[in-house]
């Protein structure tokens, strides 16, 4: 099994898979397809892996896309590349193992899009966030605008996207963009503690929690409500229904 795909490196720490964005010094993403989804799936779907921490190697999470890449002559050419990147992000979002981002340094543009696809985000005090695309006359290309709006609400998302300016960890916390500020300066230790505590609760309850919350973003309350009840019942049977 390879431990590198595109700009992502894979490491294992017991039950936790650590994905590091690795393109020193600022972890610029070389293309919208920044890793091969088949390889990433292979890493993550190993039975013993119960949770994922996504982080940047070195001082920063990721400063975003490498703009020197964008020299398409035909906009149709780039669609399949963007689709590949989006597929990877969708995979993280829907995964029923927790994916938690540990963010230090800059988290901009495509880097922030990657972080937004994670289930939860924690950052260091000194982390810096933003969507600078508009400064270059473009927009985020991996559903960043959509995910940002869902997380921080329409008006804050528009402010961030339209001003193209950066903001700090305090603002990120206030907006709900990050779950908490931790001592993540050059260390994933705080996030490892959080994710290990979660994974301790057991595979099924954790995956059902994720599914219940992922399902909730819908207008079909009745269907989702019944799905929650089925998962609840299944867990009760698993916990208490055995012969003792």
């Amino acid at each position: 099994m390879t431990d590198k795909s595109g700009c992502l490196k894979w490491e294992e720490s017991d039950r936790i898979g650590i994905i590091k964005i690795s393109m020193p010094p600022k972890n610029l993403l070389p293309s919208p397809e920044f890793a091969e989804i088949g390889v990433v799936r292979e890493w993550i779907s190993q039975k013993h892996i119960r949770g994922i921490v996504l982080t940047g190697e070195g001082r920063h999470f990721s400063a975003g896309a490498d703009l020197s890449y964008f020299n398409f002559t035909n906009s149709k050419d780039c669609i399949s590349e963007f689709n590949a990147g989006k597929e990877l992000l969708d995979y993280f979002e829907k995964l029923e193992k927790p994916v938690v981002a540990s963010i230090d340094g800059v988290c901009l543009g495509g880097g922030l899009e990657l972080a937004l696809a994670c289930h939860m985000r924690y950052c260091s005090e000194r982390a810096v966030f933003g969507f600078p695309e508009i400064n270059h006359g473009i927009i985020p290309g991996l559903c960043g605008a959509e995910r940002l709006a869902k997380v921080v609400g329409r008006s804050h998302a528009l402010e961030i996207l339209l001003t193209g300016s950066t903001f700090n960890s305090q603002k990120a916390l206030k907006l709900g963009l990050v779950n908490g500020i931790v001592d993540a300066s050059s260390s994933i230790k705080p996030v490892m503690e959080i994710i290990n505590r979660i994974v301790d609760f057991g595979e099924k309850p954790v995956s059902y929690c994720i599914r219940a919350v992922n399902n909730s973003n819908t207008k079909d309350f009745a269907y989702v409500s019944l799905e929650e009840s089925k998962m609840f019942g299944d867990l009760v049977i698993g916990q208490y229904g055995g012969f003792s």
């Binding site: 927790p98 997380v151 309850p205 954790v206 929690c209 919350v213 409500s225 019942g233 229904g241």
Partner: protein, 225 residues
């Protein structure tokens, strides 16, 4: 058994109060749910303009107990009832009861004190507005027992907190105090312990004026309650 045991109803002017009275911590047992259902059947026949839920004691509710869940769901299932049928007669019924509370044609206010956790929190979330006392503690600790929210807590928390904070809330099973809950939007207002019930009733009286009845109903409909 007096008629004030478990859950009982008091009506004054146009305000209904559902009082949780199962000391010490208002556990949501089988009796509790069936009492709540009976009280609700009375409520829908009343001409009131607002409803308040509060506890007669220190805690709003410490949630369901595992024994209750075993009795209501697990027993029938293990006795051959079939998974979906056992669910329908227990868990799904409870969810429907909470949804019915949420959708009443007038504002429903939860006045929360002390522990408000698990299905106790889910009842509070089914209320349209929540005020709490300073000492209130909220949480979804089900995962400590290897379970998840059983009364649509995941849905209602997601609506209020958004996906990431709802996930964190449920998957860590940790408690939040009144200050944090208010910051997160779980609570509309935090008040002193002794002012909790008077404040809730005052708010309800404001809503309950007869002239406001139709507007209140339409506002709730517009907000998809």
């Amino acid at each position: 058994m007096t008629d004030k045991e478990g859950v009982y109803l008091e009506v004054k002017d146009r305000v209904g109060c559902i009082i949780l009275n199962a000391p010490p911590d208002n556990r949501m047992t089988r009796h509790f749910f069936s009492n709540l259902e009976k009280v609700l059947e009375k409520v829908v026949r009343l001409d009131i303009g607002a409803l308040v839920f509060y506890s007669s004691g220190r805690h709003f509710s410490a949630g369901a107990d595992v024994e209750g869940i075993k009795q209501r769901f697990l027993e029938p299932y293990l006795n051959g009832s079939g998974f979906e049928k056992a669910l329908e007669q227990s868990i799904v019924k409870d969810c429907a009861l909470f949804s019915a509370i949420e959708a009443l044609p007038f504002p429903v206010i939860g006045a929360l004190s002390g522990l408000c956790v698990g299905s106790g929190l889910e009842l509070a979330l089914a209320c349209n507005i929540r005020i709490c006392s300073k000492d209130c503690l909220m949480g979804s600790p089900e995962i400590n027992w290897g379970l998840i929210t059983g009364c649509n807590g995941s849905l209602r928390l997601e609506r209020i907190l958004g996906k990431s904070r709802a996930l964190e809330f449920i998957i860590t099973g940790e408690m939040v105090n009144s200050t944090k809950a208010s910051e997160m939007g779980l609570i509309n207002t935090v008040v002193d312990n002794k002012n909790l019930i008077p404040r809730a009733i005052k708010l309800a009286q404001l809503f309950a004026e007869k002239e406001r009845a139709e507007a209140n109903y339409l506002i709730k409909k517009a907000l998809a309650f």
